[in-house]
C-alpha cells in the first residue's frame, strides 16, 4: 500500500540546537499513528514541518503523491491536512458555531453550506448545546474538542492532533479515544497524533513512532515499542504511565 504521508530524512535545527535529525517514517491511509517521546524530543517541530509552519533544513515531505515541504500552512490545509494546536487557539470572540463555520468555509460553496456542515460536526462532537456560547467561555476539554471540530470541518484526509488529550480527566479521555476511533473507522480518517497519555496511545495507534532528542529511536506496533530496550531507557524515570 502506498503511503499517505511520507517523511524522508527530514532535519531541522534552531541555531545550534538540532530539533529533528534525519527523521523518516510513513503514515498509511486509514491508520492511526502515534508520535511519542519525552518533552523536547522534537515532536511538535516535526508536526510543524508537516503543517507548513516550519520549513525543513533538509529532507522531503510527501503527501498523497505531492511534495509539500515548504508549502504555507493554508496550502497544506488545502491539500487535505488539518491540525490542532497543543495550546488550543480558539477564535475567542466568536461563537462555537462560528469557529467551526470558519473551518468549513474554504471547502464549502457558500455560507449556507458551511453553516450546515458545521452544525453536523458540532452534533457529532456533542458541542451542539454550546453552539452559541463564545469560544472564550469553554472549559479546556471543550476547547480541545473545538480544535478538533474546526479541523474536521476542513474535510481533511489526514488529521494532525497535537496532545489533544492533555488536561483532560480520564473519563473525557476515554470519550475522546472512542470518538477518534469512530472517526477513523467510519470515515476512514487517517490520524497522526502526538500524545503523552500512553493508555490512549495503546488503545488507538496501529503504529507508534518514538522520538528522542530529535531522532527516531523505534517504530512499530505499540506492543513492540514499549518492550524496546532503547525506549525503556529514554523513558526511565519519566512519569510516562508506561
Amino acid at each position: 500500500m502506498s503511503a499517505l504521508l511520507d517523511i524522508r530524512s527530514v532535519s531541522k535545527s534552531f541555531r545550534a540546537l538540532r530539533a529533528v535529525t534525519n527523521a523518516s517514517f510513513i503514515v498509511e491511509p486509514n491508520t492511526i499513528v502515534a508520535l511519542i517521546g519525552p518533552n523536547g524530543a522534537g515532536k511538535t517541530t516535526l508536526f510543524n514541518m508537516v503543517a507548513g509552519v516550519l520549513v525543513p533544513d533538509s529532507g522531503a515531505i510527501w503527501f498523497s503523491g505531492h511534495r509539500i515541504d515548504g508549502f504555507r500552512p493554508d496550502q497544506v490545509c488545502a491539500r487535505g491536512i488539518a491540525r490542532t494546536f497543543q495550546n488550543a487557539k480558539p477564535f475567542a470572540g466568536l461563537s462555537v458555531l462560528d469557529n467551526v463555520i470558519v473551518g468549513a468555509l474554504e471547502r464549502s460553496s457558500g455560507m449556507h453550506a458551511a453553516r450546515k456542515h458545521a452544525a453536523i460536526i458540532l452534533d457529532e462532537l456533542d458541542l451542539a448545546p454550546k453552539r452559541n456560547f463564545p469560544a472564550s467561555s469553554l472549559t479546556l476539554p471543550d476547547r480541545k474538542k473545538l480544535e478538533l471540530a474546526r479541523a474536521l470541518a476542513t474535510r481533511p484526509k489526514l488529521l494532525l492532533l497535537d496532545e489533544v488529550m492533555a488536561g483532560m480527566r480520564p473519563i473525557e479521555r476515554e470519550q475522546m479515544v472512542a470518538l477518534l476511533r469512530e472517526i477513523n473507522r467510519r470515515d476512514g480518517m487517517t490520524i497522526l497524533l502526538i500524545e503523552h497519555v500512553m493508555r490512549a496511545v495503546m488503545a488507538l495507534a496501529a503504529k507508534v513512532i518514538v522520538l528522542h532528542q530529535g531522532e527516531i529511536i523505534a517504530q512499530g506496533s505499540a506492543g513492540q515499542v514499549v518492550r524496546d530496550p532503547a525506549v525503556l531507557e529514554c523513558y526511565l524515570g519519566e512519569d510516562s504511565e508506561l
Partner: protein
Amino acid sequence: MTRRVIFLLAGLGAVLLGLPSFANNYVLSVATLFLFFAYAGQAWNIMMGFAGQLSLGHSLYLGIGGYAAAALYFHYGIAPWAGLWFSIVLCMLIGASMGALAFRYGVSGVYFTLLTIAFAEFTRIGFDHFDWVGGSGGMFLRVGQRDHVDLFNLRGTPAMFYYVILALAAAAFALSAWLLRSRAGYYWQAIRENEDAAQALGINTFRWKILAVVISAAMTALAGVFSAFYYNNLFPEQLFHINRSIEIILGPIIGGIGTLFGPILGAALLALLADGATELVGALGWEVPGVKQLIYGVVLFVVVTFLPHGVWPVLARKLKAIK
C-alpha cells in the same frame, strides 16, 4: 435583528432625512461633520474592527483621495463624480502596495501601525513640496454659487452636502453589515482573533488582509473627495496630519471597535461632546485657550477607562434587556 433595533433605525433614519427641513445651517454643519466621521470611522473599522489590522495612518487615504479628485477638477475641470474613481483606484493601489509590503515581510502588530504612520507622514512631507497641487501653500477650489445645487460638480447648498454624506454613511453601514456576514467577514474575524489558527484552516491570510486594507482605503478615499469639495481647500499639513487619523478612529473606539453601530454611535457622541464643551465653556465664561480640549480629553479618558469595549456593546445589552 430584533424589532426594537429596526424601530430605532427607522426613527433615526426619519430624523436624519428630515433634518435639513427644520435645522439651521449651524446644526446642519454639525450633523454633516458627525456623518463624515461616522462614514470614515466605518471605513477604518473594516480594517481594524473586522480584520484586526490597526492603522494610524488613514489620513493618507483621506489626503490622496481628496487631492486626486481636487487636482483633476482644478487643472482639467474634471467633475468630482468622474474624478472620484481615480481617487478610489489610486488609494486601493497604495493600500494594496503597503499591505503587500507589510504582510509579505511579516510586519505585524505595533510595527504595522508604525508603517501606516510612516506612509502618511512621508506623503505629507512629499505634498508640502508638490507644487502642482500647491505645495504647503495649499490648493483652493472655486466656491461657486452656494444656493445652486450642482450634484455632478459637488457644488451646492449645505443641505446637498448633508444628503451626500448621509447617503455615504448609510451605504457604508449596509456594506459593513453585508461584509460581516459574508465569507470575508468570517475570515477577517478569524484572522483578528488568531492568525495562526486561521491559516491552519486553509485561509490565505495574506490575501484577505490585503482585501480589508483595499476596501478600507477605497472608502476613505471617498471621504477625502467629500472633504475636499465641502471645504474647498486642501493643505498637506491638515489632510495628511496624524491628527486626522486619530480623529477618524476616535468614533469607533468610543462607540465600539468591530461592531456595526459603534462607529456611528461614537461619532454622534463625539459631535455632541465637542458642541457641548463649546456651549459649556461659553456659558461659564471660561474662555481660556485649551479648556475645550481639556474637557474633551477628560470625557474620552473616562469613557475608555470605564467602557473599554465602547458604548455600543453596553447599550445593546440594555436595549435587549428592556425588550
